[in-house]
Symmetry: C2
Amino acid sequence: MPTEGLPTSKDVAALAGVSQSTVSMVLSGKWPGRVSPSTAQTVREAAEQLGYQPNPAARNLRLGRTRTVLLVVPTLTAPFFAAVYTGAARVAAGHGFALVVYPWPDASGGPFAAPHEAFDGVLASSMAIEALTGMRRPVPLVMLDSDPAGAAPTVNFDVDTVVGNLADHLLGLGHRRLGHLAAAVEAWTFQRRAVSLAEAVARTPGASLVTREAPISIETGREVAHELLSLPDRPTALVCDYDILAVGAYKAAKSLGLSVPGDVSITGFDDIPLAEALEPELTTVRLPAEDLGSQAMSALLELLQNRSPGSPMLPAELIVRRSTAPPA
Amino acid sequence: MPTEGLPTSKDVAALAGVSQSTVSMVLSGKWPGRVSPSTAQTVREAAEQLGYQPNPAARNLRLGRTRTVLLVVPTLTAPFFAAVYTGAARVAAGHGFALVVYPWPDASGGPFAAPHEAFDGVLASSMAIEALTGMRRPVPLVMLDSDPAGAAPTVNFDVDTVVGNLADHLLGLGHRRLGHLAAAVEAWTFQRRAVSLAEAVARTPGASLVTREAPISIETGREVAHELLSLPDRPTALVCDYDILAVGAYKAAKSLGLSVPGDVSITGFDDIPLAEALEPELTTVRLPAEDLGSQAMSALLELLQNRSPGSPMLPAELIVRRSTAPPA
DNA sequence: TAGAATTCGTTATACGTATCACTTCGGGAC
DNA sequence: GTCCCGAAGTGATACGTATAACGAATTCTA
């Protein structure tokens, strides 16, 4: 047991020859000038000598908060969420908050099991939205990239604009038959992509769109792209909801003897490091994931101070590389 | 603040017309038959009505433990650590423990800031070993893939055997000049790979080995591989410490007009999903990361019961695919 | 120099839970 | 009818911290 035999503030007090409250005052640093420099020094030395560290559970109970925030993500494997973490952790650290990650739902497939710790707040990916039904108590919450009409404050990407740009890019190149490898995920941001894409296509005379859902993996990307590219009236451009799916689409094109971008243009989403390593380099959408994390954390901090944060909308960027070209 | 105004066991007691201790006994479930069925039912209904959940901080203080374990990993992006998490979380859940992830060092580059929560134990990757110097108190610890001679119990891969197999595979194909793209990380497991590889080469008359350190990224893999493949006496096989580096090596070979595996054989480490998606498919080493996680968690649970766990050694598997062939 | 203000420390208390020690009550056993 | 025992519940307490309330010196003010 971690607690057994560890020094407490009382032990420090005894060694320093002062009262426990004095120890607390010195070490918390919140009472400048409240204790004389010499006693403070004695206390600090005693604490050092015993290797004293405050008991977090006791502190949390006393203060009613933990200065720790939980980030709920659907998977650890996506670089996207690593970037979200980075942004959120930076802001958190600047305010004396710690940030821990809780993956759910996860490959382990277990039921939701909330950590037994208390957290001051939660940042949750829209893809982990079901986790919230398992939450034990109402907790300040900011959603990531979720339905802005939902109950909790949300930080979003400007999906409409960037998908509009993506569609304009392809349509402007002359493509008229588009295929969409849509994420098989019930989340607002993906539904929004589908809607924006459909709207852009609908605005263009003679343009059509065929959509297939694809669970996220290289293999399913390959399968679904193969299916789309085998249609009688084959799309000349494939829009993929993940870069990962685009990797599968590359493989499908290759196996069908189609060249990229000569016979088929392919686009991704996320701009993972691999996107630039593919041959040809992948045209994709860069989502400012780190900004998403930092803005969400800022919003949560506002919430924790009983202020109502805005619901910022972050610009996403179309990265045009060599996987898109005019149709043959 | 999360604590403000939430119902406590005292509130439940008042509503149910019993004492606080009775509420605790009923809801903890640890006192079968201690309370009559009818009162127990009344208490449960009151708790339900108020939406009562025990305060974790108070419980942790009282019990002196948290039933929560921290997993310290150097990065979230590697699928390897996601698998470790999965294995560890499964075992943890089976014993009523929760597992949270703490990435450090992380891309944010901040100093180590331990979560303000208490954890019963820590699982730490050898690559995050420095984090431990920042640990606030001695805590039950199991290292992942670290120096078995270290102070803490460790779960390891059988590096010697699998790297021996890998070397034998290449040497058996007839390769005599090997290049090693070594991870630029101060960790036992990588040093061990280098040693095992060097030993295998030394056993083979006429065989030589040239080593270059490479920070982990596709781009550095490309650069370092380019450098090795431009040597006057160019290696005919490249051993990479990560699959990611191998991706860069593929690009370097291509840019030099060398075919894989015709002109140069390439191997990786980890067997990430992409390995099979590369062209040609990558020969690599599969590390049973999920087993690593589950075994480490099991060892930690032993440790928490004051038993001394063994230091298991997990077998790794050489996956031969099409990126290795006899030299020209 | 008296009174007031300041300095520096102590004592007491509350946070919410789990559990130990104790009381009360009713039912057998003999 | 007495004694004892089990059942069912209550009261008290401790976990370790932070801070409000208080008090004894000491210094400042006029």
